[in-house]
Symmetry: C2
Subunit: 215 residues, 2 copies
Amino acid sequence: MAGMTAPVKSSPLALTVLALLHYRPLHPYGLQQLIKQWGKEQVVNVGQRAGLYRTIERLLVGGLIAVRQTERDQQYPERTVYEVTDAGRAAVREWLEQMLSVPKAEFPVFPAALSNMMLFTPDEALRTLEQRAERIAAQRAAMEEVRSGAAEAGVPRVALIEDEYTLAVLAAEQRWLDGVISDLRDGSLTWSLELLAAAASQGPAESASSDGSVG
Amino acid sequence: MAGMTAPVKSSPLALTVLALLHYRPLHPYGLQQLIKQWGKEQVVNVGQRAGLYRTIERLLVGGLIAVRQTERDQQYPERTVYEVTDAGRAAVREWLEQMLSVPKAEFPVFPAALSNMMLFTPDEALRTLEQRAERIAAQRAAMEEVRSGAAEAGVPRVALIEDEYTLAVLAAEQRWLDGVISDLRDGSLTWSLELLAAAASQGPAESASSDGSVG
DNA sequence: CGAAACTAGTTGCATTGCAACTAGACTCAA
DNA sequence: TTGAGTCTAGTTGCAATGCAACTAGTTTCG
């Protein structure tokens, strides 16, 4: 077993790099530009190049990509052009299958924050959620404009499918926020420290410590 | 400037630890148990304790929590009980405001995978998305059962608000998946390499490299 | 008595995110 | 023409996170 290296782990960036090299061999900076041109910065975090170079290094060590040439377009620094290998072509399919079919547990900050919203008063909660709703609406509008523009310009639907998904999720978040906001406004969703303490003392709160005092 | 330390960064786990210590001083393992009992493992990643201990260390160094006592319930190892400080109480409010009101750009794997779905044939895509849809449906059903059970047991709505949100998002994902799946089945969503290459060659593909060949 | 399982915490490694830094080339205006 | 800003291109370092393994005492069960 000569070439045994640990299998390379998938990540959004690794998948995208490997996929783009599928279409054409390219150098790291070119990949970054391509990702931005195709509007995929929403989806892959190529903002700071560090991640990109490290990912490429990882793929190279793992044998999923190889150096094709080192070109020198005078006026620019030397650029190393990479191409995908057969192992890389196989890996992309495995990753893609896994990433598409298995919903992975991730831990975004918003649900975590929501789960502690009772530290705020209903009024404070209302104000912060209103701000979020505005921002989500703006983001959604901007994204929808880009997407429909691209669609009208003839970009095939499958190439915009991730925007379609993101928009569906954003729309759901917005609807949900609007509902909660209106429930906070009309008082059908409220709480107070006393109420919560009462609910906690009859709930399943008494078994994690030798001491049963709450608050 | 004696006690100047860098401000502690927020994270789902840090927020939750700080919030729970609000209700009652506790030791790390107790916090982990509490998080699990309250069904918050979906939302905070306390699966491997390492993160928990490191987070607590971080909060301690940052002055947001303090050691209250070191108890010894013989038969158990010594346990250090922490309590939240005034600085901690202030930090939680700032964090919460930020985390609730500002939608942060995160990079989950599914959209990244979707954006490269065209590497599969429409048929392959259909099959993998069907699998995801099944899993999402199962997860949603399980979660809904837990949530409605808790609600009927008298847990106040605000304490289940993050489940409500997650369920809304899961429902949207499921609806979206169902739509795409049916479009894949009836052929109203398709693609082929030739089609994509054609679209690419008239699109904005030609400026990231000196070489314009695609494929 | 021995094997599991639970309690409690630690260690190490790979990966990520974020920010700063280097450094050459080009662009434009004072 | 020279200096300020801006691109291109890549590197370095640190803190944080995720994941897995390891230590070690305790209890439980056969």
